[in-house]
């Protein structure tokens, strides 16, 4: 079955990870899961996804740290942050380096769909 493309989702909360991935799969994307920042970087290298959802607060490496490291190696990476505690100082720095968006938990399935369609539309 044809897929629209690959999206990487990194979150240490398994329930959030599972639900986010469920909806993205349902929207027709191929989804790769990562449980922390390190894992996200290695999965990015392996899969070269068209869009990345990064949780801000993760073990081993925060979402922002992950982004800055990822951005050095892959400046074209498209990243959307997910957070329950918005830290705007770091978000501003990430935004200046072309991070796409910051969405707050709990977010809606419709928001997820809107963002994926906006930043990673159908080919």
């Amino acid at each position: 079955m044809s897929k629209k493309g690959t999206i990487l989702v990194a979150d240490d909360d398994e329930a959030v990870l599972d639900t986010t991935c469920t909806f993205l799969e349902f929207f027709g994307y191929n989804v790769v899961q990562a449980k922390d920042g390190r894992d996200a970087i290695s999965k990015y290298r392996e899969n070269k996804p068209g869009l990345v959802f990064l949780d801000v607060k993760m073990p081993k490496m925060s979402g922002y740290q992950t982004f800055f490291e990822l951005e050095e190696e892959f400046p074209e990476a498209k990243v959307i942050f997910i957070t329950a505690h918005a830290d705007f100082s770091k978000w501003k720095k990430a935004k200046s380096k072309h991070a796409l968006e910051l969405i707050e938990k709990p977010y809606s399935a419709e928001k997820l769909r809107e963002l994926t369609e906006k930043f990673y539309p159908k080919k």
Partner: protein
Amino acid sequence: MVILNMGKSQSMLSYKYYIRPQAHHLYGKFTSKSKHQENVQRSLRILALEGPMTTWEMAKVRFVTNNDKVRTKEKEYRRLLVGRTDRGVRSNGILDLNLVLVDSKTTKRNPGNKYRLSLYGILYCLDVMDFNEKEIDRIAKNYEVILPLVFGNWGLLKSTIGEHVYNISLLGKGLLFDNLHIIKIENIEFYELISYFNIKSNARTESFNEEKIGELISLWFFITLLYFPNLKRKMKNKDTQKYLRKVLKKNGELNEWFSSFIKEAKTFYKQRSKIVNEISIV
């Protein structure tokens, strides 16, 4: 011919959290497969596309005329399916994870078992094998007896909802929507029905058999028609029911079956609402 298996079956949550991860571990995912995993997937693919078969018939699919090769392959398939014991060490076969079942006995020439995919075997195949639409149509035809509400109405569904019929493959990935409480969702009809579906599919786990699991898979399929990714956003509520209503209108039995599920859900929520209404702490 496929025969419905009335033995006990594991719940759909077991598929998501145990059977599927185990099958990925033992028999491979979509990508990166070992030689053994490739062989297992090849044998499952034959059962998916050809329906119930003896191991001899499976081997014949690969080597039509060369009987020596058929004999070797037949042994290999039998080992893969039923496992083996070598110097006292038992290696499980695909039957041990219930991805494949014994369908019936054949008495033709050499008596033996006919094997077929279980419902979870079908889901696993849809998850890890890159079937095209024609192949999924064949699977639907081969297994319509064990999933009558979906596969038994495949032609009707295809003519009504088109390519969305292939969304059944998504269930193979374990997309049960069982953690919906952590995400906001505008489509309340879908939210409530899929939530009730999850409550229903976790209850009475002990009494599940292939018929019940088939019904649950069918419920998932029809409920998800209320939340179609390809439906235009910002539709009015009644429009989200468009696809489902179209299908149900064309088949009286389906309509009756789904209506009884809706009625059951309504009773459940009514009782819950009554309990909440009767809370009088303050």
